[in-house]
């Protein structure tokens, strides 16, 4: 390779604009004058105490380490089952399921719209039969399981419940998380089926059903991750996510539930991006804001209702296709921010994710990264070690204030649902995404290996995972067999009953469970519900 002239960079301020990743101006040093007394007093508090700025537990990771939970899923249920076993074998402590696109949008693998996408970026899931294969041999009463699914979350979850029933596992012993967060879909990820109102009804139906029957389950994971990936700044991620959370609370209360009945099972999911301190501050601010609003605005009495417990994933959008090994370093920094921000569970991205689905090798390194942080670095021994840092406390307050001003704007628009219908959060994101791209183009922000320090004629030296095209044909033929072998009278009866109930105000979850037990497919359920609820169309906002 030809030698390039050596790069000399005299001052940081000549190559970056010295703002945070989100464009926030920062001073060159922070001191006591930059922090409000209250931010070191009552607003800070102690770990495990209101307002929980410093963490949800008193002893934090000494008492309970975060759950190392790598998101996995590809191909058929049997293939993903093998990846799950691989991960558990290497010391992972919880499972997290990625579904393929047809599943996420509510369609069956043999639907024409699914062509080419079956098993591509997650596991294909059509019915209870796939659920049985996916968790075959995995002790669901002992391993906590997370499922990343939103629009059809309720009927994928009832397939999961039906599987537990068949295996004789009491529903009350199931632990895990359902993402089930539709608002961020309209804002960022765009995986919806119906208009907002019926989706929110399904969500509150699940809150009520689980409070009674699956009490250890986190019924929702209110997610900022995707909002951030779609281009939001740290403050926008924080504000829109928490506002989504408030909206679910308000809907559940309006549906007649008391806040302390469901709020303890609400959980969150944030992004850990590359700006180390800004991310830590964002996570600390999230806990403080949530606690304050739950206690003061929504009148929750149970301290568990005040807790903002969250999963963190390192930022997929920070990864580069160039010099992919360097992504290991980025992910390590981001994961450390997640831990210092006090996460309850963590996913670390694999180095090859800007190129393809992660290979076994890359997944293992990502998991090992968490283990190094947990067991070698020493950071887990002390709760909130950055508490009281002038810079971190100042940033925490700034993010909180910025989020509060977004809350006010959104309330002015009539709340989050009307704001989404008007495209407000969507436009904010698009603008931020474009501004960041401009900053990169104009060299005000840097990406190592992309905007600077590039390697000419780079040759990739990491293995790339490929999904065999036979996955789709196999999945489709299995589905054909199922449609012929199941009790089709029971299938039609339960679908009819579902449709009837959907037209009433009755809780839909028991009906979805009946459908799942008799092997109704995901797409069959989706189509029945569309008859009642209609379909949502894209609102593209710029």
């Amino acid at each position: 390779m030809a030698m390039k002239p050596p790069v000399t960079i005299p001052h940081l301020s000549q190559v970056t604009d010295c703002t945070t990743l989100s464009g926030r101006p920062v001073l060159s040093v922070y001191g006591p004058d930059d922090v409000f007394a209250d931010d070191l007093g009552d607003s800070l508090g102690r770990p495990g105490h209101y307002p929980y700025t410093r963490g949800v537990h008193e002893s934090m990771y000494r008492g309970k380490l975060w759950t190392m939970r790598q998101f996995a899923g590809m191909g058929t249920a049997a293939q993903t089952n093998a990846r799950f076993r691989f991960l558990l074998n290497r010391g992972q402590t919880g499972l997290s399921t990625a579904f393929d696109n047809p599943t996420l949008y509510g369609w069956d693998s043999d639907d024409p719209i699914s062509a080419g996408e079956v098993g591509k970026t997650g596991v294909a899931m059509d019915s209870l039969a796939d659920m049985e294969r996916l968790f075959d041999g995995i002790p669901l009463d002992r391993v906590s399981t997370s499922m990343t699914i939103n629009a059809p979350a309720a009927w994928i979850f009832t397939m999961f419940l039906a599987n537990a029933e068949k295996r004789g596992i009491p529903l009350a012993q199931l632990r895990g998380t359902l993402q089930n967060d539709i608002l961020k879909e309209y804002i960022a990820q765009k995986e919806w089926i119906f208009p907002p109102e019926p989706h929110i009804r399904l969500i509150t139906d699940l809150f009520a059903f689980c409070a009674e029957h699956v009490p250890q389950w986190n019924t929702i994971s209110i997610s900022g991750y995707h909002i951030r990936e779609a281009g939001a700044t740290a403050a926008q991620e924080l504000a829109f996510t928490l506002m989504d959370g408030f909206t679910y609370v308000e809907h559940a209360v309006a549906a007649g539930m008391s806040v302390d009945d469901f709020a303890p099972r609400l959980s969150f999911f944030f992004n850990a991006h590359i700006d180390f301190f800004e991310e830590i501050a964002k996570l600390r601010a999230a806990r403080r804001i949530w606690a304050r609003h739950m206690k003061e605005r929504y009148g929750a009495k149970n301290p568990r209702s005040w807790l903002c417990r969250f999963h963190v994933q390192t930022a997929g959008c920070s990864l580069t296709a160039q010099q992919p090994e360097v992504n290991i370093v980025r992910t390590a920094i981001e994961a450390l921010a997640g831990v210092l921000g006090g996460c309850q569970s963590l996913h670390t991205n694999s180095m090859d994710e800007a190129l393809a689905l992660p290979s076994d090798k890359a997944v293992e390194i990502a998991l090992r990264t968490q283990q190094v942080i947990a067991f070698e670095s020493g950071v887990a021994s002390v709760a909130d070690p950055l508490g009281g840092s002038y810079y971190v406390e100042r940033l925490t307050r700034e993010l909180e204030e910025e989020a509060e001003s977004y809350f006010a704007k959104i309330r002015d628009l009539g709340g989050m649902v009307p704001a989404i219908e008007r495209g407000f959060p969507q436009q904010e994101l698009t603008r931020s995404a474009y501004e960041y791209q401009r900053a990169l183009s104009e060299r005000r922000k840097m990406q190592v290996g992309v905007t600077e320090f590039t390697n000419e004629n780079e040759i990739l030296e990491i293995p790339i995972l490929e999904i065999d095209e036979s996955v789709e044909t196999n999945q489709i033929s299995a589905l054909r067999v199922l449609r012929e072998s199941r009790d089709n009278v029971a299938v039609q009866d339960s679908l009819d009953e579902l449709e009837r109930t959907a037209r009433t105000k009755e809780n839909l979850v028991p009906k979805l469970l009946s459908c799942s037990r008799v092997y109704c497919t995901e797409g069959e359920i989706t189509r029945r519900l569309i008859r009642v609820f209609g379909e949502y169309r894209e609102q593209a906002f710029f």
Partner: protein, 336 residues
């Protein structure tokens, strides 16, 4: 035809292209539109080719402030009109950036219900140098669509929130779209567009505030707003998203269309437009020959500069120029 009137840009209009166009090939229609859009010099030849195929279609302008649902409504209308047996052309105009010349055209997002519908042909146009909510080539593009066999042509203007009177020059029927938010209605009443409207549509009737807007519009019209010399302008409510009220709107448009035809007003509008087209083409030609012969624009600019300083009258120059221009010898026979 003079050298200057032949196409100088892009591929020429081959006989094969015309054959495909007459054979109803959509791609050929799209290519002819591109030519009209980008190459003014090709327009005369294209107009020649379209002869005998124009004069029948009804052109419907859809105008109104940004975001009121013009595209969504246009899509629903196109379907309604097509269901009534019409072939429908759509021209949707979006603004060009005055700085970069680029344009973002998002109207198709709202028209996904028309995907695969062979009865409809939809084309997006950037406004480019056009003012008043249309592209300079809008009328020419509508001509091509008509000659391609479209019975109804929907022209969606840029949502500029200002008087878009250009659309009147180009459309037989003007639909003004508003939404329940008083600001828009008051703006429109002020701007005079309301007088250009043949139908006023209050879209998004599923949102609160419709009744109030309908009432204030009815009140305004009772005070004499509306196109002078016509009967009361109809005011309809629609929810384009839910396809509600579309049937009524289609019926209203079709009834206005047959009135236009039956009363002879359609022919009259067409005559006026042709008159304009001829006059403008000749003016353009004359001007071009003056430019070529003496560099007219530059000379006028210089005179104006001198007059600004001297404070003199422009007429000595005008008289001299006009007298000299009379040497242009026109034979009346040629004007028959």
């Amino acid at each position: 035809m003079a050298e200057s009137m032949r196409s100088s840009r892009g591929p020429s209009l081959t006989p094969q292209l015309w054959e495909r166009f007459l054979g109803g090939e959509r791609r050929a229609c799209a290519q002819v539109i591109t030519k009209v859009e980008n190459d003014p010099d090709a327009v005369p030849e294209i107009r020649d080719r379209l002869s005998g195929r124009l004069g029948r279609a009804i052109r419907i302008g859809i105008t109104g402030p940004p975001g009121v649902g013009k595209s969504t409504l246009t899509s629903a209308l196109a379907r309604g009109l097509a269901d009534g047996g019409n072939r429908v052309g759509i021209v949707a105009v979006d603004p060009s950036s005055p700085f970069t010349g680029g344009a973002f055209m998002g109207d198709r997002i709202r028209m996904d219900a028309l995907v695969g519908d062979d009865r409809v042909f939809m084309r997006s146009l950037a406004s480019r140098a056009g003012q008043g909510g249309l592209a300079p080539s809008t009328a020419g593009v509508a001509d091509v669509l008509e000659a391609f066999g479209m019975d109804r042509i929907l022209i969606e203007t840029v949502g500029v929130g200002q008087a878009e009177l250009d659309v009147m020059a180009c459309a037989d029927i003007v639909v003004l779209v508003l939404q329940p938010s008083t600001g828009d209605a008051i703006q429109s009443l002020k701007s005079g567009i309301i007088e250009a409207a043949d139908v006023v549509v209050v879209n998004k009737a599923d949102l609160p505030g419709v009744e109030m807007l309908l009432q204030s519009l009815r009140f305004a019209f009772s005070l004499g707003a509306g196109r002078p010399g016509t009967n009361a302008t109809p005011i309809l409510a629609t929810s384009a998203q839910a396809s509600e009220g579309i049937g009524e709107l289609v019926a209203e448009l079709e009834s206005q269309a047959s009135d236009l035809v039956d009363s002879g007003r359609h022919r009259e509008m067409r005559r006026a437009r042709l008159e304009n087209e001829i006059r403008r083409a000749i003016q353009t030609h004359l001007w071009a020959s003056l430019e070529r012969a003496v560099g007219a624009s530059a000379k006028i600019r210089r005179h104006a500069e001198e007059l600004t300083l001297s404070g003199g009258s422009p007429y000595p120059f005008i008289r001299r120029a006009c007298a000299a221009t009379q040497v242009c010898q026109t034979k009346e026979e040629a004007w028959q």
